[in-house]
Every structure is written in structure tokens, then in C-alpha cells.
């Protein structure tokens, strides 16, 4: 699914926190880079319908979608809440909300559980999990939904490096079959490893966007050059 944004703005009172003239997020992995407060989370909240824009349009494959947006987009927020249940029940909770059959749930679990080696955690209640384990369960809970667009806000921030690499393999598979994955991160090295497209934001605006190699190897803005030590 291709997401097109035109003249998108978000204001809080008199403060404009986001101002995006034009943007296209394509099938594959789109990484959004930017420092704290650059507007990354606001942008993905608007795209996912969690926030209402103050102005502008967001089109999904050229169309406006309102009520059925949840069928197409799933989101992993920065600090995900895990239900007070076992890891297994947490992972399948979204599938149960969507009334997916038991057989299909089992198939999805078989397909996704091995990515992050969570089998030993399945019977554990969520409050017994460590921060990294919670992040893995929350990521899998989003991944099994197999929506056309998946938005991940700093999904590996709490994971160790080994788990981060495993999660990155999962991102790649989530983006297969013409699906769109949007990953928000501060980590330029991770962006280099996983991205097809990179979008760099600062102060609520998009500074640079394009193919990974164009943006990260030949940055034009002084700020991105500084971040990349170019």
C-alpha cells in the first residue's frame, strides 16, 4: 500500500508541531529518522489515524480511508501496553479482536514465533517479563496481524543487539508481499541495515527523503551530514 501525504499539518494551540508538504511512503521498509521532538511520532500517529490532522490529506492507495483504517494499519507504539495475561495470549490478542479462526491463529504463530525465540516465554505472565522480552512480545503481537501497513515506533529500543538483529529479519519479512513497513528509529546504523527508503525529519518538517543510498550516502542537509559524520 502506498501512503501519500499532502499539506499535512498538526497544531497544538498556536504551536505547529508538524508541517509536511508532500510525502509518499512506498511498499518496503520506510525508516523515519530524526532527533527527539522532530515530529516522527506525530507523523505516524496521523498516518495511523490515532491523531486527527489540523489540515491536509492522507491517501491510502490514492483513497481516503476513515472507519476501516484499522483493517489496513497496525501500530506498535513506543511504550506498548501488555495485557495482564500470558505472552501467548498477548500475542494472539489482536487476532482475537479481528475474529481470526483458531486454525489461522495457529498458522500465524508457527510462522512468526521462531523469529524472536519466544517459545520459552509463552506461558509467562506479562508482568514477569523483562523490558526486552516485553518488546519482543509486543512486536510479535503486531507482526502476526499481517496488515498491509505496519507502523513500528522504536521497536527495538529495549532489545539487546542479538534480538535487534533477529527483529530486523522479521521487519524484512513483514515488508514482503508488497506490504509497507514504517520504522521510526534514532539509530542511523539500523536505518542503513534495514531501510529501502529513508525519511529524515527535523522540527516537524521533512528535511530529506528518498532511497536509502541517496539519503544516507549523499546527504544534502547540514544536520544529517553532521549526524552521519560526512
Amino acid at each position: 500500500m502506498i501512503i501519500s501525504v499532502e499539506n499535512l499539518v498538526k497544531d497544538y494551540g498556536s504551536a505547529r508541531v508538524l508541517d509536511v508538504e508532500k510525502l509518499q511512503l512506498k511498499e518496503g521498509i520506510n525508516v523515519i529518522l530524526g532527533s527527539n521532538g522532530s515530529g516522527k511520532s506525530t507523523l505516524i500517529s496521523l498516518i495511523s489515524g490515532l491523531l486527527k490532522p489540523s489540515g491536509g490529506n492522507i491517501l491510502y492507495n490514492g483513497k481516503k480511508i476513515d472507519d476501516s483504517l484499522r483493517n489496513y494499519i497496525s501500530v506498535l507504539v513506543q511504550k506498548p501496553y501488555l495485557f495482564k495475561k500470558s505472552s501467548y495470549e498477548n500475542i494472539i490478542s489482536g487476532l482475537k479482536f479481528k475474529k481470526i479462526s483458531k486454525e489461522e491463529i495457529e498458522l500465524r504463530l508457527e510462522k512468526y514465533l521462531h523469529y524472536l525465540d519466544v517459545e520459552p516465554l509463552l506461558s509467562k505472565k506479562s508482568h514477569w517479563l523483562s523490558g526486552g522480552e516485553r518488546a519482543k512480545i509486543a512486536l510479535l503481537r503486531t507482526a502476526v496481524l499481517e496488515t498491509e501497513v505496519t507502523i513500528l515506533d522504536e521497536p527495538t529500543a529495549a532489545m539487546d543487539i542479538e534480538s535487534t538483529f533477529k527483529a530486523e529479519v522479521l521487519f524484512r519479512d513483514m515488508a514482503s508481499n508488497n506490504r509497507t513497513v514504517i520504522v521510526v528509529t534514532h539509530d542511523v546504523f539500523q536505518a542503513r541495515r534495514i531501510a529501502d527508503y529513508v525519511l529524515f525529519m527535523d522540527k516537524g518538517k521533512i528535511i530529506e527523503m528518498g532511497l536509502k543510498y541517496d539519503v544516507l550516502d549523499n546527504p544534502k542537509s547540514a544536520l544529517l551530514k553532521q549526524i552521519l559524520n560526512k
Partner: protein, 222 residues
């Protein structure tokens, strides 16, 4: 001890129906008030609207409303000349349930809003991002906050079973019909029968103790 209780109930055979009616009236009132209080409380906790602050101020005021005032209001409504007089509710257990519902609802509603406000928003966000509908979201919030809500319902039931003013006014403390534990204690104390009054007081304490023990066990199991 067991023999003493057995002898006591044999001698004062009218006490058991009093205990049973107390439990029936207060449990029913707490159940009805919880049904509305919990649902509306969670919905209020999740939404921001213009009149939310004034609503909560009014709720907080109603939480400390004197039972006799509620008794008076319900009495005026259901008395023969009142707007609901034709239903013949005065001096019936139904009238007592109505009065206790009105007494307990603000407590359950107010405590629900304050106890689940923060957690409910996180749970709601998670449910939305996972594609849950409104009904599933509400049920998930109720299930996730069940321990806080159980405490809220317990507080509401405690208020209902321990109040005397409202049930006295709308129930009339009629022997075998609307006499409950609190009105029984008030009556027997007035007559100087302290032994019976103290016994019923102990029964009330035991009910409270059993509820708290049960709550504690559920919390530990969770």
C-alpha cells in the same frame, strides 16, 4: 461457639431473615449500581469533554451525600402522592434497593473514573492499534482493571450494607418485610436489647471481614 450461635438463632429465629434481606437488598443495589457505574465510569475516564470537570465535582459531592437525604428524596418520589406513588413501592424492599442504588452509584462511578483513568487510556490505545472495536475495547479495559474495579464494587457494597438512614425511611423497618441488619440494630438499641444488637453488629463485621479476605485472596492469586 457453634452451639452458642445455633442456640442464638433458635431463640431469635427472626434474625436470619433480617440478615438474608440485608444481603439481598445491598447485593442487588451494589450489582445494579455497578452495572451502570462501572460502564459509565470507564467511558468517562476514556473521554475528554467540556463538562467532565464539573461532572466530577458534582459526583464527588454526591459521594458524601447523607443517606437520610436520599431516603427523603426517594420517599417523596414513591409516597402515595408522589410521582411514582401509583407503583406502591413505599415500605418495600424494592424501595430500599432504589435508595441504596442512588446512594452507591456516585461512589462506584467516581471511584471508577479516578482509579482507571490512567491505565484505561494505555489499554484503549493498545486495543485500537490492534484493531479492536468499541465493545472489545470496553470489555478489555474492564478485564484489565478488574482488581481496581473489584475494590470499587466492594467499597460500594460496604456503603450500601452499612447505611441505615435511607432504608429506615423508605423501608419503614417493618418486621419480616423490610427489616435489615442496620435498622434492626437501631431498633434493638433503642429498646435496650444490647445483646441482639451487638450480635447483629458482629454479623455485619464478619460479612465485611469475609469480603476483605476474599478480595485479598483474589489479589494475591492475580
Amino acid at each position: 461457639m457453634f452451639e452458642f450461635i445455633k442456640d442464638f438463632f433458635t431463640t431469635y429465629s427472626d434474625i436470619l431473615p433480617v440478615i438474608a434481606l440485608s444481603l439481598r437488598v445491598s447485593l442487588t443495589a451494589a450489582f445494579i449500581a455497578s452495572l451502570f457505574g462501572l460502564t459509565l465510569g470507564v467511558i468517562t475516564a476514556l473521554n475528554e469533554f467540556k463538562l467532565k470537570k464539573p461532572l466530577m465535582r458534582v459526583t464527588n459531592t454526591l459521594m458524601s451525600l447523607p443517606p437520610v437525604l436520599i431516603g427523603l428524596l426517594v420517599y417523596m418520589l414513591i409516597t402515595r402522592k408522589g410521582p411514582l406513588g401509583s407503583y406502591g413501592l413505599l415500605f418495600t424492599p424494592t424501595a430500599m434497593i432504589i435508595a441504596q442504588c442512588i446512594l452507591v452509584f456516585p461512589i462506584i462511578f467516581g471511584l471508577t473514573v479516578s482509579s482507571v483513568s490512567e491505565a484505561a487510556k494505555d489499554i484503549q490505545l493498545t486495543c485500537i492499534t490492534l484493531g479492536a472495536g468499541r465493545r472489545d475495547t470496553l470489555l478489555t479495559i474492564l478485564s484489565e482493571c478488574r482488581m481496581q474495579l473489584l475494590s470499587v464494587v466492594t467499597a460500594g457494597f460496604g456503603r450500601a450494607i452499612s447505611e441505615v438512614g435511607a432504608v429506615m425511611m423508605v423501608g419503614g423497618n417493618i418486621r419480616g418485610k423490610t427489616r435489615v441488619m442496620t435498622t434492626y440494630i437501631a431498633l434493638e438499641t433503642g429498646k435496650g436489647n444490647f445483646e441482639e444488637a451487638v450480635f447483629i453488629g458482629i454479623v455485619l463485621l464478619c460479612i465485611s471481614f469475609i469480603i476483605n479476605i476474599t478480595l485479598y485472596r483474589i489479589q494475591r492469586r492475580e
